[in-house]
Symmetry: C5
Subunit: 339 residues, 5 copies
């Protein structure tokens, strides 16, 4: 379920964003608390080890190691690498949202341009609409784990009413070593063309508008598939992850409070809890979590797209629009500004 | 009300932007003065505490803490994180503006291509136009708090003349668990198709141009809805807010003027007012305010889009264009460059 | 007048860009010399004050202040903030250029698809073309100060031949509290539709191509209007300006040459003229000037768009194309590569 | 073969990305292990030289040299240059993916709008479809080394069934000094136009939709060709490579552990293995490898596009869709939500 | 001639990019060797001056000056400014490439939809195609110095067969103070409209598809013209150039090896050749050269677009496609996968 908070920030008010810091659902805390516990535990363990178990010379070595780690931790360009990477991930995520296939454009055209209130007309419109929904369902099954869980086999697709048994048989009979999500889309084209011949679609202008919309719909579908198929190169993700993990590994040692008596520069205060390092953990690990959450928006994270809901909504709404609402118009009346 | 200042900066002049620094409406001062007061008060309180109430050893501890905070404050990558985040927010904001639905393209087509100066023709054009406006109104109600306040129920929509009572009834009769903003849009399609059958729209070419425009209009509407529904991931906003707040928290302690007699490096001057820290507060908090203002441009900030004005303008102008102006052309005359 | 220098940099040559440094028109020097004089004068004044008028202890205080200012000047993230801001401004500026409305696409269609070399045909084509030009003129009047100066009232518009007196009357008679730049655009649609009925435009395909182009044209116009109406949020501009001004304020004090005898770190040289600070002034103030110049490209800067020239060119060229050139084709001859 | 890992990161889980660090295929390790071995060997060689073979004064010189190198290594803006460059490369790579020509849109139209289940109709549809596939094959041969290896001559193209012998002859007979990949595309247009005359394509609306799609398809093809032809300017790639190589060269000397007895600042620890430098090698060299892999996505890297697979899939699927599936529709049945 | 190296980097291999470092054509060395020699000479001159000609106290002054310069050299934000600027230039450059006008889309339509294999039909198609090529030639003459050299006058245009003498006369007779590159484009529209009346173009659908393509073609042309006319603001280019030049000027003095006996910090090594400064020269000056090369891609640099080649290719190929290939189809045969 997408986490919507825009109504909370409609107006820029006194410390406007601070309220957002107190949410749990979809929040940085919920996403990070486990990693945070691990990090804090390790830090404490090393701290205890240093303070109570090491001998004098071991302490001196540890102190040098700590300063060494701290120096190099600062050289790791975490901010920059994360900045570019997250920008890339966020752009891809938004493009995937924008390309979610919605059948609304097609349902307008089918509802208005496929004629006949008789049973054959209704059947025609509903079948066309079903093919549209089936096309996107087949894509969503490949792309989204949530949808795949709900429709693990084609039987489930048939069972949910997206496909009839007869269609299933024809679908299975087509011999192709490749994915067949384009099949209902070709059925759509041929059925529309048949309807044109039978006069249910008035002329080629109407027909081609339908075809163009269907092609647009299919392009959205295949773009989603493309985003899933060709992700951000693994190397890039590994580089970023490695940079962030290295940084925190270096911080575990480098950000320990050292014995203030030794007089190391910048180490004349011991407050036990490395508050800024913990906050830095939240920034950087949180920023990486943004990427982790968005890199595949079709999972089951708090912030992922609700594809199963989309599928239901689209089927319900589009059948309603092309069947019940076909030529079922409100009586025209003069509006209140008439003259 | 959007704050327009472009005419003030038409020409690049001597210290051209300095005039902008003296405005109040929509300005950084108006947005930030409360936070600024809180920040300055806290800073002063800590300063007073340090100068007058702490004992010697407490002072020494505070001084070490201050230096510690200052050191880490500089490591917080506020600039970078804000830079990437604000760029993202500004892009989304502008895309929302560009996708505001304007009925002008549709009103041109309806005015020119739906025939008949008789009452039925007028009724047809006005009703089509009303459906267009109704579609966007329903979306604006979900998206904008200002519009929602004005139209809290469907009764208000009917009362304002966007919908007739009969339409309201039909609308309510449609059973769907999902939002129904697409309903007037399907009515539009069916009514246009009916007008085509009755010869009020001449042929399929005219009809499909109308349909395409309506689909474009609906896409703008649903994109607006999408921007509202799927915001920037909460985690990202939290990361940025946390970074900025942490920075200022660190500054409260780390940017205190320490006792110059103690000889801390960089602390040999005490001018009581940390002028640069206060200015930094304006930069960073101001930059964050940019994001806060733009993240939901449909609120009631000084810089938010005037959706209620848009709704009124669109209805008034579009009814004028399709009714009174239909085939009401000025007499053609030779222009002054004729031959 | 736009400053074009691309022919100067067609080839990458030995120190290729250095020639650009010697231009005056539209140059950084012309834009900045006044600010530069102010900055240099202030710097000199402070320098003289420090060197000749301050007492010893005042000098010591000033030196501390100078070091303090210098330290914080370096912490102001001018580069970063300017980088993001200027990128935003430049993108907006270019989009405005790309969306300048040119009537060339429409004049091709009107010249080819509105039939008749008789007077009525000519009148029809010229009137349609005039409406196109009138639409953009009305927008330019709102957007550009230069155009507004030339056409302060509708009388000037009528006087320049963009509108007839009769059209003016009809225009004024339309009651609307909103801007009426869309009126000629509706006239265009209705006139084209009338021409279709009279057979001057052959069929709906020709008509709708015209309508689509007109809608495209109007979208360019309204996008220009949008860029003018909804600018970059004032807060953002203020943040950037404040950052740059603060930086230079800090430099005035912090970049003074201090008494080399006092042995302050990095202050063992006194060359009187702070050459690098002056150059930095040119970078940063110059970069800000880029933004200042481009934020409203419809003013009268050296680099602003020549909207008045556009208006004249468009009217002259488009009337020529639809009238004199209509069906006035060169005799077809075999080209020199025939067989 | 593209490395797909999106299903691995569907949900943001506990240390979600760490699993990605353990993959071999397409990973940073596979890409970099050779360079890493070279780098580590050189580092070790220098280290051994310094520790065991240099005389005292040579050691002192080496130490100074090392510090000098280290200082300048930090000034090389590797992160920044790589950030901008990789962003550019990634954008180009993704645009190439998005512009891969898929014949699905065309096969829908040919299957629906080219009439006739007789042999001539089938031949017509198959031939049109073959021309489409041939167009992209000719482009892929220029662009992709993998495809070129598979189809080194036009004989291979004929042999694989993309072209008949007769077509080959006509193709060779056309005299042009330029590439001829556009030839099948002109055949397509003329054949479609012929089919229109023979009534196999019903009217101009159907025909022009086909033409538009074909033009779109060709634009994808030529854009791919453009990306191959006009790459990122060599100078840019050289600048980046030089920056990274220089950095690592400087690191080889500058990151050596120096004799701790000499008391050089930051050199009081000797742990033999420069763990952070090695990790930095992975970041920066890995980041550059991202660019190296993506700059030409038509090679045979793990992450390159599988063009040969595309070619086979497209031919098989598109012939199936236009031939076997033409007007071979499932019987229409009432769906389970009927009433 | 564009420098293509993509086939060299098809696979990411062992030190994959190092081969690119050894090329001369279009390389950083070819572009920079002259500047490099100047820089190295000046550096050496100053070095010699300092080492051999200055007196003791002059040396001391020079050393202070050198340290002063070095300190400020590091503060010049060359990387950042160059990063943003080059990104802008590269984007513009690529957009110009993408908008180069190719007549392939138009030649498909003219070849298929303008009927008649008789002489008049051929003349019609060739003339239409010639107008298309003439339109882009006129634009290229304004934009590209290379094309302007080849066609300095309209006589050359006529001589090369792009225009007949009669057309030239008509062209000259049109009175307009503005550029007239749009004239052949209006001829195209009128000629196509005439062909429609004579039945050579079957109906308005065919005609309007042609018109739309021609408008698209013209938009590419005028966008190219726009890129040439309104360049990156001069101030921006000056700011960047000034920053880079200042940086190198500061390096000339600041990066000298100072007398190691004076014990200046970081100056305890004298290796005569400032290897890292020279490499930095290559980075920064090379990066600026990227901009210099791409800012006007229509010159005669190694990496510039080959406009003259384009013009020839387009004319040859398009005349071939519309004349010889018109309805000259290969005999249809069953492909090898038939059944």
């Amino acid at each position: 379920m997408t986490v919507t908070y825009s109504s909370k920030v409609a107006n820029a008010t006194f410390f406007g964003f601070h309220r957002l810091l107190l949410r749990w659902k979809g929040s940085i805390y919920k996403l990070l608390y486990r990693e945070f516990i691990v990090f804090a535990t390790l830090y404490t363990a090393i701290s205890v080890l240093y303070r109570f178990f090491l001998t004098g010379s071991q302490k001196r070595f540890f102190e040098k190691l700590s300063i060494y780690c701290d120096k190099y931790a600062e050289q790791i360009p975490v901010t920059f690498v994360l900045g570019f990477y997250v920008t890339l991930v966020v752009n891809r995520w938004w493009n995937q949202f924008v390309n979610l296939p919605w059948p609304d454009r097609l349902m307008l055209l089918i509802s208005s341009c496929v004629q006949g209130r008789d049973e054959y007309g209704r059947l025609l419109r509903r079948t066309l609409m079903r093919y549209v929904n089936l096309t996107s369902l087949l894509i969503f099954r490949s792309v989204s784990t949530a949808v795949y869980k709900r429709f693990p086999t084609m039987d489930h697709v048939v069972g949910a009413g997206f496909m009839t048994k007869y269609e299933r048989k024809l679908f299975d009979d087509l011999k192709s070593p490749h994915l067949k999500y384009w099949v209902p889309f070709v059925w759509f084209g041929n059925l529309a063309s048949k309807a044109r011949k039978e006069g249910r679609i008035r002329d080629s202008v109407d027909l081609q508008t339908l075809m163009n919309e269907m092609n647009k719909y299919r392009s959205w579908c295949s773009l989603l598939f493309g985003y899933d198929w060709v992700g951000i190169p693994l190397v890039y993700t590994q580089v970023v992850t490695l940079a962030v993990y290295t940084f925190f590994f270096a911080c575990l040692i480098g950000r320990q409070f050292l014995d203030t008596d030794q007089g190391y520069q910048g180490h004349d205060l011991d407050i036990y809890i490395p508050i800024f390092t913990l906050l830095q953990f939240f920034f950087y690990a949180g920023w990486l979590k943004v990427a982790e959450q968005l890199i595949n928006p079709f999972g089951e994270d708090d912030d992922d797209f609700e594809t199963n809901w989309c599928i239901d909504r689209n089927l319900q709404v589009s059948l309603l629009a092309v069947d019940e609402m076909h030529m079922n118009l409100p009586r025209m009346e003069k509006d209140i500004y008439w003259n």
